[in-house]
């Protein structure tokens, strides 16, 4: 196989991995602060992508045509709205269930995800059909042998990396990050030290959901098409990525996301069977990894083992 092709596969895998990682980080954040699994996370991504699309159409109808301004407005609208939605979900469904068994949270968010997904399908105009997503990034590309490097992909990848670095800095360098980590480590102690527990939980859910909105927008710009089902699949993959990485660990989630994308690419390219089995292959490896390291590749430092 020539180098150009290898480079192309690597680029494809990196783009996928970035989206998976962004979703996985959300799962891991939620698990970190509250020890809950929020299954509606993928569908928040879908709603985010559709919010961005709707704001684009809105801007078009008032006659705005600058790509940069539109993109910025879509980003702000999607991230703002999803942060709000994430906090709302935490406030209305997750915090009240804190003392209930974890299974209840899992179920209620699973159902909530279905409600979100079906709402997009039913209430977004013609929402059952795939929707074209505007091309707002410059589409210049250079061909190096078999490798086609597109400027828009490079931008998406860079911005995605910056978002993850930014999140890491937020968690490790700011007071808010300190509070989030304190709550994640020990809720009672954090409360005694004057951390506003509820506010921190809501903020964390807002941050995680904003990441999902960003991933949704990225998904739309990358594929130029969104549909009501994107979040379901990305949710499952993101969740698996968070699990193999080690729930609760940011680095683990990122590693898990890229690992999963790598497995899918290998499954489609290097293995002798039909590419339809690439997901079977990737998930089978996930199962094997979980059997080998039940707490994930990078386990949470203070995870409770029972």
């Amino acid at each position: 196989m020539d180098l150009g092709l290898v480079a192309q596969y690597t680029m494809n895998g990196l783009m996928l991995g970035m989206m998976y990682a962004l979703v996985a980080v959300g799962f891991t954040l939620f698990f970190g602060v509250l020890d809950v699994i929020k299954f509606s996370h993928g569908d928040v991504l879908t709603v985010g992508a559709f919010t961005a699309l709707a704001s684009f159409i809105g801007l078009q109808s008032i006659g705005l045509t600058s790509d940069a301004v539109e993109l910025l407005a879509m980003l702000v609208a999607a991230i703002g709205a999803m942060a709000l939605l994430g906090a709302l979900i935490a406030r209305a469904f997750i915090l009240p269930l804190r003392s209930a068994p974890a299974l209840n949270t899992l179920l209620i968010t699973l159902m909530l995800g279905t409600v979100l997904r079906e709402s997009v399908r039913l209430f977004y105009p013609d929402g059952a059909n795939p929707k074209p997503f505007p091309r707002l990034l410059p589409a210049d590309s250079i061909n190096i042998g078999n490798f086609n490097l597109r400027l828009d992909n490079a931008i998406l990848l860079t911005v995605g990396a910056l978002v993850i670095v930014g999140l890491q800095l937020l968690l490790s360098r700011t007071k808010l990050g300190l509070a989030i980590r304190a709550v994640a480590q020990d809720e009672e102690t954090a409360k005694t030290m004057g951390v506003n527990f509820n506010a921190i939980v809501l903020t964390t859910f807002a941050i995680g959901s904003a990441l999902a909105a960003f991933a949704g927008l990225m998904n739309g710009l990358y594929y130029n098409e969104i549909n009501f089902g994107i979040g379901l699949y990305l949710g499952v993959v993101g969740f698996s990525a968070a699990i193999i990485g080690g729930l609760g660990s940011i680095y683990g989630a990122i590693l898990g996301g890229f690992l999963f994308a790598g497995l899918q690419t290998i499954g489609a390219v290097a293995l002798p069977f039909a590419s339809a089995y690439k997901d079977v292959f990737a998930f089978a490896v996930v199962i094997a990894l979980m059997a080998w390291r039940p707490t994930g590749l990078i386990p949470e430092k203070l995870s409770e083992r029972v």
Partner: protein, 392 residues
């Protein structure tokens, strides 16, 4: 039985809403139920809703006809283009003894999964859109009929046309449902007959999002065209991602599965030059197409009839004709349907062979030109004014 009561009530209520006004004399007629199944939600719902409306149109026109012996009510169910859902809905229809006959299924994977149900419960059906040959040919069920042609004819025309244009090498992407696998099989066979070559075959799942790995591999195989056996949602994705990966001079050769307006809406300019084929002709060119479109538009349905609307109309109309002729009895309706020969319909003559398959083999090729599916012969690509991608 009780738990079906609310549902039945809902249908009757909905039916009552649908026929308010203009039917004051019909209370004297017996009320007969007929069924319709298609994908009313999900990625292929555009075709399903178009088919539903068209079948509904046949029922409305009949109910407005003072000479009709019965008053009809259509029960429309949603198979979501999923075989498991389709089997449930088929069972629901087939076990309801009040339903005399039904026009069923657009998706081949669903239609092939449900034939046994219709056979078991003795419900005569006419398939209105699914093109997998096995639906009529795998078994010899007297209950199952089909007004549209099959993908065998479609792929022969496809391979013949492209070979005549000088295309020799193709990569195949197909979904791994019966529909996609059938297309792969018949296209590969037909292409071999015309001396073409398949350089690679890729089976993909019907809800796959990312095709970059498959397309990168195809890029290294350097074919003139990508043949796609599957439906619109992933067709849109594959065509879009071809562009992203720099497959700029490769033809996108589709099937009846992408002949819908949502393929073009989903892709915009990128749809230009894609090919698709349907059994039968474009609605406006069908023998009764003008009449059908006039009546269809007069009802102000929110969605267009799409490629198979005419067939759904013809299927439902044939059912209603037969019930008018022999009365509301499943056995008699089935026996009469099996003998249909040279029957005029808006899709041309209908003749069922011993498998219930309509023997028309009229296939029409389309090319996407300036945001519309244009009949190949009328297009600027056929006249040589424009060139398809990958054409040498």
């Amino acid at each position: 039985m009780n738990r079906f009561l609310p549902l039945a009530a809902a249908f009757i209520f909905a039916g009552a809403l649908g026929v308010t006004g203009g039917v004051s004399s019909s209370y004297a007629k017996d009320k007969i139920k007929v069924g319709f199944i298609g994908p009313l939600t999900g990625g292929t719902s555009a075709n399903g809703l178009g088919g539903r409306n068209s079948a509904d149109l046949a029922v409305r026109l009949r109910n407005a006809d003072a000479k009709a012996r019965y008053e009809y009510e259509m029960v429309a169910l949603d198979d979501e283009c999923k075989p498991n859902v389709g089997v449930q809905q088929a069972t629901k229809l087939a076990t309801d003894k009040e339903i005399i006959a039904a026009a069923t299924h657009y998706c081949s994977a669903v239609a092939i999964a449900t034939v046994d149900v219709y056979h078991k419960f003795g419900l005569p059906v006419i398939v209105w859109g699914a093109v997998l040959p096995d639906i009529t040919y795998r078994n010899k069920y007297a209950e199952v009929h089909r007004v549209n042609g099959t993908m065998i004819n479609q792929n022969e025309r496809n391979a013949e046309l492209l070979s005549s244009l000088g295309y020799k090498t193709f990569a195949v992407i197909h979904d791994t449902t019966d529909y996609g696998k059938g297309h792969n099989k018949y296209f590969s066979e037909a292409l071999a007959k015309h001396g073409g070559q398949i350089v690679g075959t890729f089976g993909v799942t019907s809800d796959q999002q990312d095709f970059s790995a498959e397309l990168t591999q195809i890029k290294s195989l350097n074919p003139q065209g990508i043949y796609f056996g599957g439906l619109t949602p992933i067709g849109v994705r594959i065509r879009g991602q071809m562009d992203k990966l720099g497959l700029n001079d490769v033809l996108f050769d589709g099937t009846s599965g992408i002949k819908s307006d949502s393929y073009i809406d989903g892709l915009g300019k990128l749809a230009e030059g894609s090919l698709s084929f349907i059994e039968g002709g474009p609605t406006e060119r069908l023998p009764g197409g003008k009449f059908f479109l006039e009546k269809y538009n007069a009802q102000n349905y929110p969605n267009p009839p799409e490629a198979y609307g005419g067939f759904a109309f013809a299927a439902m109309n044939l059912i209603l004709d037969t019930i008018e002729e022999v009365g509301p009895d499943r056995k008699k309706v089935q026996a009469t349907l099996n003998k249909v020969k040279d029957r005029d319909s808006i899709v041309g003559k209908i003749t069922f062979d011993d498998h219930g398959q309509n023997t028309v083999a009229l296939i029409t090729a389309f090319v996407a030109q300036d945001g519309k599916w244009v009949v190949w012969e009328d297009s600027e690509y056929a006249s040589g004014k424009r060139k398809l991608l990958g054409q040498k």
